[in-house]
Symmetry: C2
Subunit: 197 residues, 2 copies
Amino acid sequence: MYARPLARLIEELQKLPGVGPKTAQRLALHLLKRPDAEVQALAQALVDAKSQMGYCSICFHLSSEPVCDICKSTSRDLQTLCIVADSRDVIALEKTREYRGKYHVLGGLISPMEGIGPEQLNIGPLVHRVNQDNIQEAIIAISPSIEGDTTTLYVGQLLKPFTKVTRIAFGLPMGGDLEYADEVTLARALEGRRSLD
Amino acid sequence: MYARPLARLIEELQKLPGVGPKTAQRLALHLLKRPDAEVQALAQALVDAKSQMGYCSICFHLSSEPVCDICKSTSRDLQTLCIVADSRDVIALEKTREYRGKYHVLGGLISPMEGIGPEQLNIGPLVHRVNQDNIQEAIIAISPSIEGDTTTLYVGQLLKPFTKVTRIAFGLPMGGDLEYADEVTLARALEGRRSLD
């Protein structure tokens, strides 16, 4: 149906998440109409990002240098540590501009179903860090799910001897309508109620 | 927020149609987790497709060779020509497996709003071809729209002296519910009614 180079491009594009055959074809035909320089720039950006990006040796956040900008910063609260599953969670939290402490990226969640145990995550370095750096509070910011709750429980137990451990709140989202909230969210919101004082 | 190589990749991905900042970030982070070889393959496919794909010198369909497979084929009906706006229309028609003639890709539609006149489309070579190749029927397969209708009218007038000119049918789509069809589609369906014989 398609000439070989076009077919190969469509095939490679289809490996992207959320890209099916129709979208891949649309993207490929779009790219063929763009200037040479634009396609070259995308190809180069792919190769560069893949070869130059790695993980921060302290917090395991995505970084192009051995130590990331957040870990390097001296203006942040050094005694608060936020524990997240993935680098994209760091990005989401940074966007709030509410958190000024440091991060630790686990690199996933404990999931016996997918064969991911604690030893595959960056948990050893976390315990070492909490111990070493005199962390006053470890905030676990992990989504509520079976894997998330398991990981939170596991990490919490390990850190409790060394520091105060908290978990972010779950409840009704802002702008959320109580009537349309699912039962689990509503149950969590009730459970997490606070006095109005 | 992001390290430079990652930021550049996100920026380049955002230039793709239908890809916003969130999707671009998701794609970029996904790619960073994939094996080196997979990312290299995508980058290479981009460069190869862009450098190796061109247009068939006869029908202007996308092709990696000077003459495309459809034009080269000797088993197809040489006296029927289907005129379409874009290469993706050729692909859509080929998927039906109903059409066995040849194609001619105009490369767009006449659109005074966007400053596209007949001289920017592959209309000259089309007239020459119809004349030269003893075409018995030219089927115009162009979507119904202001630009599509204008182009159809224009091309039709040019070709009528040399061959029979037809246009594909418009009406209720298969599985379409008459009650929910828009008025324009319904009007076209009525207008295009055929005797039941």
